[in-house]
Symmetry: C2
Subunit: 205 residues, 2 copies
């Protein structure tokens, strides 16, 4: 046989080509020939490693979320050793905002997949559904721990605030993507709410 190549590596290479071309022209517009050209391989090879376009798209989504998870992890370690809960939350949220090319692509494609999953049952059954829950649980835990440490408002509802922060981040991310909002504006809004949550003030007049 020929050089016995690593299939997983090749699949990753092709999936990254998919992400690049989809980030440029939109997920709806990418064909198998585009992916092949972008990856520098023949159309037949894309078929060889992913038998069908559907499978290619699934794999691409998986690859996308994996890369994003790794990216958030890297951001977290970058804020220094043992960061406080607020810094941790801020890092997670800011990593989700489309401020550079990679996060822009991620946001665009993740949104595209989500919207697609509404009318595509096969996609709706894919694993990326549990990702939001994980983020929500993580933020809820961080806020709870901050409350126990006296760093955050003990009267705040941790889960509600976690949901709110993630929800605001997502929409404002899309607004940045379509050019309706500047990243600084989004950061200001998020910081506003972090200030509120991470204040030990008890509000009762």
């Amino acid at each position: 046989m020929p050089k016995r190549v690593d299939h997983e590596e090749r699949r990753t290479q092709i999936a990254e080509a998919l992400v690049r071309v989809a980030g440029r022209r939109g997920l709806h517009a990418v064909g198998m020939r585009d992916v092949a050209a972008e990856a520098g391989v023949s159309l037949r090879l894309v078929q060889y490693y992913f038998q069908t376009k559907e499978r290619l798209l699934f794999y691409g989504l998986q690859h996308l979320t994996d890369r994003f998870t790794a990216r958030v992890g890297a951001r977290l370690s970058a804020v220094g050793p043992d960061p406080g809960p607020r810094a941790t939350i801020e890092a997670i949220l800011l990593a989700s905002l489309p401020t550079d090319e990679e996060s822009r692509t991620f946001h665009l494609l993740y949104s595209s997949y989500s919207i697609l999953s509404v009318t595509d049952d096969a996609l709706a059954a894919q694993p990326f559904i549990d990702n939001p829950d994980a983020a929500e649980n993580a933020l809820t835990g961080l806020i709870r721990r901050a409350q126990e440490s006296g760093l955050a408002d003990p009267d705040a509802d941790a889960r509600t605030e976690a949901i709110s922060l993630l929800a605001m981040t997502a929409t404002m991310g899309t607004s940045i993507l379509v050019g309706q909002r500047q990243p600084e504006s989004a950061v200001a809004v998020l910081d506003h709410h972090l200030d509120r949550i991470f204040s030990t003030a008890r509000a009762r007049p």
Copy 2:
């Protein structure tokens, strides 16, 4: 000539067929033949009233936003004559949540158009961009007036809160759409923040 039909009426009829079929199968999957079949007319007629598919999509988007604006207006009048600012805001936000078939379709298609506009310059230049600004300004004004009337926390930043409420509503709407969240949960989160904003408590310990 034949019966001299109202062009605008026909276009509306076809645009509504577009919205229906796109709401069912997704905007990316709708072709001119589908729209023609759904509207009960020939393919040629769709071409006759909209020369190109791009124009059909533009008109469909316009029709969609018009219908939604009317829907929100109807909801507003339904809350009774001269409602308070909070009831008004609540009506606007709840009307945006995809809780029935029409709002579900609106949310799905508006999101699809938005995502599409990121990679489609012609769509990005379309009018639907200013709609979010209008909602943001409306909510900001309502909060400001509530503050002046002593109904809302005078320390709140009206615009930031307006942005936040709309952002949360949008993301949670998508979550409902993809089946990740129940409408009641979204309403609870929104009410939580409305309670906070519409409390006259001064928070300083």
